[in-house]
Structures are given as structure tokens and as C-alpha cells.
């Protein structure tokens, strides 16, 4: 397949969303600084958050173009296993550091999710997402080629081990359900298109759902969130737990059709928790109204559709799986975050891709999107047929064997 132009829609939606996030943080950053200073006695400057976001966007843009233009996916794939092991090791090390109380582990509200590296902090779970996408793409493609997909020892055992370890480190050790949900989405989306038999997929899917429900019921603070969600849905009594979601909806609701305009958000002055991080969508709802949110939703929708189109037109299974993984990553972020803000699901604490304040999450999702752009340069004109029938793998891929990349 000859190299052609990359997918412009993915390119521009990525850059556009990052720019929009920057504008919103510019408007509400000073309010956030003011709230933190007066409530916690911290000493943030008015533009600290904007500068922080500017730095994140700059670094992420560099990562985006590195993945897009510089680092070939082939190279990454070759190191898929070491990358995965490294990512797991980073998360495991954080857990150990936190357990021994090292100052290298940065904890907030009792959850230790960050490495403390002086002026910056680093969240290994974000790296784990990228590693998992790269690793699973390689693993599933190999198994597909070997024709061992769905077999217990060759497939389910290593698959379960890697995925289980990842989820355990993120959800149990770091208490990060949001990342856990994203990982599950990535795993199942990639598994779905890997060519696994549907009944196997469904069995695993429901097994995981049952385990997840059980885990939520076992955890009191997660049950609290579910109760709070039920309370907001049914108009139950307000409490500290419902405060966050009520104020998110208050922000969105007051936006009306066209919003209150940039810089006029009242909810950002301290009423809405996490206004620049997880709740930024609600502030955008207040600022830009239904029209603005619908456009943002449409931009994400366009990006997601293009990602699926790239996946659908990419022949090499590993590349196709990688794109689907990135797709699921973005989808999980968008859907879970927005549904939480609109009280369609309980709050899980997940950032809105490319828009929320935060360095690590933006860095890795930008890199992942850059990767899909690289892959988008090699799509075929027609949709790849029968791509997901596992049994074809037994032909050892002869049908596509001649395809080699020139890059």
C-alpha cells in the first residue's frame, strides 16, 4: 500500500480540541487559582493554570507529531512486550513507593497515582493505556496469525494475565476507577475486532461486568457514588456526595441555548469541584450553551468516526487493532466523562480527552492519536472485508503477505 495523505479530520479535531481547552482554561484558570488560594491558602498566580495548560499543550503537540511523523509504528511494535513490561513495572513501583511512604509517590485524597518529579508529576496509568494498546495490537495480531485466538493456554492465559495485572494495578493499587473503565473499553473494543468468536466474547464480557458490579458493591466510597447518582436521578435528598454532580448539571443547565459567554461562568468560581479537570465539560456547557456542547460533541463524534474509518480501511491487523484501541480510549473518556457530568452514569473521575487540565493524560492521548494519523497514511480505498473472522488467520495471512510498507 502506498503512502498517501493522513486523515485531516483527525489531525484538525485533535489540534482544535487542544486549542479550545486552552481558551477555556485561560478564562477559568484565574477563578480556580482564586478559589484554591482563599480556601486552602495556596499561592497560585492568576495565570498559573493557563501557563500549565500551555505547557501541556506544547509538549502534547510535540508528542503528537513525533508519533505521527517520526517514530515508525513498526519500531514500536517490535518493542511492544518490553514497553508493556516497563509500563506495568512503573505502576508496580509506584505502588511499592507509596506503600513505604516515599516522597516520590504523590498522593491526593488517599490515592497514590502520581510520581512526584519535582516541578512536574507523572501518572503511570496514562502510559499504561498506551502500552496496553501497543501490546494488545501486537499480541492479538500474532495470535490471529497463529490462529490461536480463543484458545485457553495460548490466548486466554497470557491475555488474562496482562489485562488482569493492568487492571489490578490501576483499580486496586491506585484506586483509579476512571482509568480502569478506559482500560476495559480498550480491551473489549480490541478483543471484539480481533476475530474472537462472539460467544467467547460475550461470556468474558458478562463475566467482567459481574466482577465489576461486585467490586463496586464491595467498595463503600464507590457505592456512595452510585447512591449519589441514584439520588440525583430520582430527585432524592442533596448531600455532600450529590454536590458535585448537582453543580455540574447546574452549570450545564444555566448555559441554555447559547451559554453565558467566556469569562462569565459563575460555577467556575468555586461552586463546581474540579472545574478545570474532570468537570471542564460542565463549565463549557455553562459558557457555550447547548450549541457549543453540541458542536464539541460533533467534533468528538467526527474524530471517533474517522478513527473507525481508518481502522476499517487498514489491512494489517496489528495496525487496525491499535487504531481501535485508540478509538476506545477516546470514546471511553468522552462518554464516561460527559455521562457522569449529565448524571447518566455515576461519577468515576475521568478526564475529558484533550480538554481537561492535566499533562500526562493529554500527552499520551495526543501520542496515541498521532499514531493513528501515521497509520491513516496507509489506508486502502475500500473497506477491508471479512477482517474480523478469526478463522482466516489460519491461512497465515497469505492474502495480504505481499503488502509491505515503504516507509
Amino acid at each position: 500500500m502506498r503512502k498517501h495523505k493522513s486523515d485531516l479530520i483527525i489531525l484538525f479535531t485533535t489540534l482544535g480540541l487542544m486549542a479550545l481547552g486552552l481558551i477555556v482554561i485561560y478564562a477559568i484558570g484565574p477563578m480556580r487559582a482564586n478559589v484554591l488560594n482563599s480556601t486552602y491558602g495556596s499561592n497560585y498566580g492568576a495565570n498559573d493554570f493557563f501557563i500549565g495548560q500551555l505547557r501541556s499543550v506544547a509538549i502534547s503537540t510535540v508528542a503528537f507529531f513525533l508519533a505521527f511523523k517520526v517514530i515508525p509504528y513498526r519500531l514500536l511494535r517490535r518493542f511492544a512486550k518490553p514497553i508493556m513490561i516497563f509500563a506495568l513495572a512503573l505502576s508496580a513501583l509506584l505502588w511499592v513507593l507509596a506503600a513505604v511512604g516515599s516522597s516520590l509517590a504523590k498522593c491526593e485524597l488517599g490515592e497514590c497515582r502520581w510520581y512526584n518529579l519535582g516541578p512536574i508529576s507523572f501518572q503511570p496509568a496514562e502510559f499504561l493505556k498506551l502500552a496496553l494498546v501497543i501490546y494488545l495490537a501486537d499480541f492479538l495480531a500474532r495470535k490471529k496469525e497463529e490462529g490461536t485466538i480463543g484458545r485457553l493456554r495460548e490466548f486466554w492465559l497470557p491475555f488474562g494475565l496482562v489485562c488482569g495485572a493492568s487492571l489490578a494495578l490501576v483499580v486496586v493499587a491506585q484506586g483509579d476507577l476512571g482509568t480502569g473503565v478506559t482500560l476495559v473499553a480498550i480491551i473489549f473494543a480490541m478483543l471484539l475486532v480481533s476475530g474472537i468468536s462472539l460467544w467467547q466474547f460475550l461470556i468474558v464480557f458478562f463475566a467482567v461486568i459481574i466482577i465489576a458490579v461486585g467490586a463496586v458493591r464491595m467498595s463503600s466510597h464507590r457505592m456512595q457514588r452510585v447512591d449519589a447518582w441514584v439520588a440525583t436521578l430520582t430527585g432524592g435528598e442533596s448531600s455532600d456526595s450529590t454536590y458535585h454532580i448537582e453543580n455540574a448539571m447546574l452549570a450545564i443547565g444555566t448555559g441554555g441555548l447559547t451559554g453565558v459567554g467566556i469569562g462569565n461562568s459563575v460555577q467556575a468560581t468555586g461552586y463546581l469541584p474540579e472545574s478545570i479537570n474532570d468537570s471542564v465539560f460542565a463549565i463549557m456547557g455553562e459558557t457555550f450553551g447547548f450549541v457549543g456542547l453540541f458542536l464539541i460533541l460533533a467534533v468528538f463524534g467526527a474524530m471517533l468516526m474517522r478513527l473507525l474509518r481508518v481502522a476499517g480501511h487498514t489491512s494489517p491487523p496489528d495496525e487496525r487493532f491499535a487504531v481501535v484501541g485508540v478509538f476506545a480510549w477516546v470514546l471511553a473518556g468522552v462518554v464516561v466523562n460527559i455521562m457522569a457530568m449529565t448524571s447518566l452514569v455515576p461519577v468515576t473521575g475521568i478526564t475529558l480527552p484533550l480538554l481537561s487540565y492535566g499533562g500526562t493524560s493529554m500527552l499520551f492521548i495526543a501520542y496515541a492519536l498521532g499514531l493513528t494519523l501515521q497509520i491513516s497514511c496507509y489506508t486502502s480505498r475500500e473497506e477491508v472485508k471479512n477482517e474480523d473472522i478469526g478463522s482466516r488467520g489460519r491461512l497465515r495471512g497469505a492474502h495480504y503477505a505481499s503488502r509491505r510498507r515503504s516507509a
Binding site: M31, N34, V35, S38, T39, Y40, G41, A189, L192, V193, S239, D240, M249, L250, I252, G253, T254, G255, G256, L257, N264, V266, Q267, T269, G270, Y271, G285, G289, F290, L293, F294, L297, F300, G301, L304, M305, L308, A311, G312, V324, F327, A328, L331, V335, I338, M339, T342, L344, E383, E387, D388
Partner: protein
């Protein structure tokens, strides 16, 4: 179906659900959310009006005796404020003002707001602020300070925790002192800091309360209390009340009762009766002081003169009751004149005045009763509110034509029993007796302070509302409706009464107590106390009173002084009250540097 297409439909479905949900929240529910937001974002803050201060006069200049100070409440967010540092900070700077047990406060789950200290002074509050504790707010407020301590507390009253004036001037002039609160309505951030967002912000400034200047003289009040305290030490009495007023204007220059209470810690008082102003709120029987009023009536009606005589038998039978004189010296038996009867405070003498009023020197009749009632109730305004700017009780005067034993009741009334009147009523009536015959409305307020000038207070309460809120007695029916500076006695009657009252004290001049060159007159009163509906003839408890005036010889009196001393279960004769009067009238001469006419 290709599985990628499944993902596509799932995605579109999810985004569709979100879009519909957003439409629902932002378009359909928009108004409800806006209403809720306005409820949450709008800060309605009362701008507290400053309460007016209370001044007394001191040598013609107003001086503050009740002032305001800005104090602070310390408010914390137990979820954020560090407990140990808070405790040590409060212990260090505001130990006396802590109102909460931090152990209990921090034990309450979900608590985000709590007042842990109140009335913290500015200096301590700034030190607490400098500690930089997280989520500690200092809320400004006001509290009263009393530079004179307990002085005149029953006259001044206090301000309760809700900022409402209680008792005394604080209570009766609450509407003048309070002012009008302003209002601030604005969009605010989560810490209630006003934002410039929004265009329906409202600010109505507060109108501060007016500062009241009392006619009471601070130095005189203080000196009076010192003399009362000294008198109580040498007396059976536990309580004493004193009223000093200018009989020619009705202006009160001293009014107090001991024991006082500490208005800054008014809550420490065990019995709320300690708050009551004994001078205006407690009707009692001033006993023989009332003989002045009976005499004045009979002289003013032309029915007798000081030289008119009657036959004194030491007792009088009325309605079958035997009324004894207190003094039964043999030289008083037989034909004596009215001056002598007053000098020795003979009950038979004042009863004789009542008989003269009815034109029958031998017995009490309806005409006499009605005339005495007319003088007591209508002319002297006894049994009425006087209209002074304080909470008052009315007291009562029995009707001349109703009830059993009217004659004996009225016989008793001539020497101040069987009626209930307040000290202020008595002193006002006595002022008319000695000032040339004019009845004035007593006043304790000089005016309000406006730009440093004293301006007359003209916002008297309207309708049936009297000053303040009555507690026990009916108040306000005819407050301020009585004659103001109205002549009720002739010049001649008043002069005659003055001469008799001065005559009462001629032995005091001889004893060197009353100074030469001054006209000092007075009359004592010793009242039995009603126990179980009847007068207690064991005299186990007596209330001693003395009423008199002082001024330069040959001139109208400058000041009228009334003293009342009592104690529960104590037999306090008028002697103690008279001694206190003696020291007070001399003190007045010195304090006001009244020149003698030698």
C-alpha cells in the same frame, strides 16, 4: 455485520443519548436550573446598621457611657481547618471568647461551617488572621462596651445576643438606637466574595442608629451611687433607689438603684428582677410623703392654712377602724395646727385635711374623697404614666365612690397607703408642689447627637405604644397625654408648702446638716408592707423613703431628691433614707456649686 460497524453504532448511539440529554438539561430544564443557580449564587447580605451610642451629660458636654466595638466571630470549616493548630491559636489569642468544644465540633461528620469563638476583639482577631489557618473566616459584628462598668445599669439596660435592646434606655429607645439595616444582593463566588458578573446587583446602604444623649449627669450619677453604696453599708437595707430631678423642667439628672448588674455580662444575673428600673417600673406605697399631696389639695382649695387647728387624739376611727399616729408624745395631744401635724407626720393631721376637703371637720365624706381623687389622679397625675422616655408602670389610685370601706381607704391614701405609685410619679407630683405649682413631664433624654450637636428628640412613640414594651403594668393608655408644664396649684399654695417642708427640717439646720443660705425641705415616709392581703402590723418589713428639695434660700428649689431604701424581710425606717438624702443634698450643692443666699 463487520464488527467495526458495531462499534460505530454503539458510538453513535451513546453520542445520541448524550445529545438528547444535553437538550433536555439545557433547553427544557433551563429555567429551573437558572432559578436554582440564582438561589445558590445570589448572596443576600444584610449590611448591619450601627447601633447608636448612649451618652450622659458631664458638665454640659455629652460623654459616651455605652459604646460600640467591632468584634469578630471566628468561623471554621472542620473538614479543612487543621484542628491542633486552631486549638493552640485560639488558646493563645482568644481563650475567653471560645464558644465551642473543638472535640465535639470535629466529631460531627460532614460539618463544613461552625462558629467557634464570638465577640473576639479586633486586636486578637488580627493575630488569629495572621496565623494563616486554612478555611478560617472572621465575621465582623458589633458588641456593646460600658466604660462606666455597672453604673446606672438598670437605667441603661443592655443589648441581647440578637442585637435587641432590653430594659432601660436600650429597651425603651430601641427604635431610635437601632437604625435601619441595609442590603447587599450580588452574585458571589463559593466563599461569598461578590463578583462583578451579573447585572442585577443591589446595594442599599444601612442607616445607622442615632446616638441618644441622656440628661443624666455622669459625674453626679457616679457620686450618687457611691453615696448609696456607703448608705447601704450602714443600713439594714439591701436595696436603694434614688431619683434626682430638676423640678422646674422635669429633667432627670440622676436615676439609679443599687445593687446594679454588669450589662456586659447580663446573662450572669440570677433573677431577671435585677434588670428592672426601680424608679419607673415599680409601683409602691411612698407612705407619709403623700401627706404633701393631701395638704396641697386642702390648702389649694382654700379649706385650710398651716395655722388651721384640729384636736389631735393620737388616733382616728374611720369605718370602725382605728388609725393610730406614729408619734404619740403627750405634748401633741389636744388642739394643734396643721404645720405641727405635718412636722410630726401625724396621720390624724392628713386625715383632717381630707375632712377639710369635704367641708366637714368632723368626718370624711364623698365630696372630700372626690376632691382628693381629683387632685391625686387628675392634677398630680398619680396612677398615670408620666411620659418619661423609659419603660413605666402605671400603678393605681382607688376610685372615690366604689368598693367597701371607701372612707378608710381614702384616709389611708392621705398618708400614702392603699395606693400604688412609682417613684417617678411621686417625684413629679412633689416637684409641682414645690416649684410654684406646675406639673412637668419628666424626661431623661436631652436629645440625639447629630454632627456633634444635641438635637431634640421628637420621634415619640405613636398610638398606644409607650416607650419600650410594658412588662407587668398597663402602659401607654395616657402616656404623654397629661398636662405638660400645666399649672395645678397656685403660686401661694406652693410657697406655703415649701415653707412647711423647710420647717420640717429646721432642726437639721440647727444640727449643722443643712447649710445656711440654702432652702432645704423634705418629708419622710415609712411604709408598712402588705403581706397576705393585709398590712403587717408587726412592722417586720418596712420601706423607708425620703423626698425633699434643695436650692438657694429664697429661690425656687433647684433639685428634687427622692430616696427609697428597702430589703426583703428588713425593717428599714425612713431614718436611713433621710440620712442618705442629707448627704445627697449637700453633695448636690457641692457638685453644681449652688451659691447660697446669705
Amino acid at each position: 455485520m463487520p464488527r467495526i460497524r458495531i462499534l460505530k453504532y454503539i458510538t453513535l448511539g451513546l453520542l445520541g443519548i448524550i445529545a438528547v440529554r444535553l437538550f433536555f438539561i439545557q433547553i427544557i430544564e433551563h429555567d429551573a436550573w437558572v432559578a436554582k443557580a440564582s438561589e445558590q449564587h445570589t448572596m443576600l447580605e444584610t449590611i448591619t446598621a450601627k447601633r447608636g451610642e448612649i451618652y450622659m451629660m458631664d458638665h454640659g458636654e455629652p460623654v459616651a457611657v455605652v459604646m460600640n466595638q467591632t468584634t469578630y466571630q471566628v468561623i471554621i470549616d472542620p473538614a479543612i481547618t487543621p484542628r491542633d493548630k486552631l486549638q493552640s491559636t485560639l488558646d493563645k489569642y482568644a481563650k475567653d471568647y471560645i464558644t465551642a468544644n473543638l472535640d465535639e465540633v470535629y466529631a460531627i461528620e460532614g460539618l463544613r461551617y461552625y462558629v467557634v469563638a464570638k465577640n473576639v476583639p479586633y486586636s486578637a482577631a488580627t493575630k488569629i488572621a495572621a496565623e494563616g489557618l486554612s478555611s478560617v473566616w472572621l465575621k465582623e459584628g458589633n458588641s456593646r462596651v460600658y466604660p462606666e462598668g455597672e453604673m446606672a445599669s438598670t437605667v441603661l439596660g443592655f443589648v441581647n445576643a440578637d442585637g435587641l435592646g432590653q430594659y432601660g434606655v436600650e429597651g425603651s429607645l430601641n427604635h431610635i438606637l437601632t437604625g435601619k439595616d441595609g442590603l447587599l444582593r450580588t452574585i458571589s463566588d463559593v466563599n461569598n466574595v461578590a463578583l462583578s458578573i451579573g447585572d442585577d446587583n443591589v446595594k442599599i446602604p444601612a442607616e445607622d442608629g442615632q446616638s441618644v444623649v441622656l440628661s443624666i449627669d455622669r459625674g453626679l450619677e457616679k457620686g450618687t451611687e457611691e453615696r448609696i453604696a456607703a448608705a447601704l453599708e450602714h443600713s439594714e437595707a439591701t436595696n436603694a433607689a434614688v431619683l434626682i430631678m430638676n423640678p422646674n423642667t422635669g429633667e432627670v439628672v440622676a436615676m439609679t438603684a443599687l445593687p446594679n448588674y454588669d450589662p456586659a455580662h447580663y446573662g450572669n444575673v440570677k433573677d431577671a428582677s435585677a434588670y428592672i428600673n426601680q424608679v419607673t417600673e415599680v409601683p409602691y406605697e411612698p407612705a407619709s410623703i403623700c401627706k404633701n399631696f393631701a395638704y396641697s389639695a386642702a390648702i389649694n382649695e382654700g379649706k385650710m392654712t398651716p395655722d388651721t387647728t384640729y384636736f389631735n387624739e393620737h388616733y382616728v376611727y374611720v369605718d370602725g377602724w382605728k388609725i393610730d399616729n406614729a408619734q404619740m408624745n403627750s405634748f401633741l395631744y389636744g388642739e394643734i395646727d396643721m404645720r405641727t401635724a405635718l412636722y410630726w407626720s401625724l396621720n390624724s393631721g392628713s386625715i383632717q385635711a381630707l375632712k377639710f376637703l369635704g367641708d366637714d371637720p368632723a368626718s370624711i365624706n364623698q365630696k372630700g374623697r372626690e376632691l382628693l381623687f381629683d387632685y391625686y389622679y387628675n392634677k398630680f397625675q398619680l396612677g398615670h404614666n408620666t411620659g418619661i422616655e423609659l419603660i413605666e408602670a402605671e400603678g393605681f389610685i382607688p376610685d372615690p365612690n366604689e368598693g367597701w370601706g371607701r372612707d378608710s381607704t381614702y384616709a389611708n391614701m392621705t398618708f400614702g397607703q392603699n395606693l400604688g405609685i412609682t417613684m417617678i410619679q411621686t417625684a413629679r407630683a412633689f416637684s409641682a408642689v414645690v416649684n410654684g405649682g406646675y406639673l412637668y413631664t419628666p424626661t431623661v433624654v436631652k436629645g440625639v447627637l447629630k454632627d456633634g450637636e444635641i438635637v431634640a428628640l421628637d420621634t415619640a412613640p405613636t398610638g398606644d405604644a409607650a416607650w419600650g414594651t410594658p412588662t407587668s403594668a398597663r402602659v401607654g393608655e395616657d402616656a404623654a397625654a397629661g398636662p405638660v408644664g400645666e399649672r395645678i396649684l397656685t403660686e401661694q399654695t406652693s410657697a406655703t408648702m415649701r415653707s412647711m417642708l423647710i420647717n420640717n427640717r429646721d432642726y437639721k439646720v440647727r444640727a449643722g446638716i443643712d447649710r445656711f443660705g440654702y432652702a432645704v425641705g423634705g418629708k419622710s415616709g415609712t411604709a408598712q408592707v402588705v403581706r397576705g392581703g393585709a398590712y403587717d402590723d408587726t412592722f417586720a418589713e418596712l420601706v423607708g423613703s425620703y423626698m425633699g428639695f434643695v436650692g438657694p434660700a429664697g429661690e425656687l428649689p433647684r433639685y428634687v431628691v427622692m430616696v427609697k431604701m428597702w430589703g426583703e424581710g428588713k425593717s428599714v425606717g425612713s431614718g436611713d433614707a433621710m440620712d442618705l438624702f442629707d448627704s445627697l443634698q449637700n453633695y448636690l450643692i457641692d457638685y453644681y456649686k449652688i451659691k447660697p443666699n446669705l
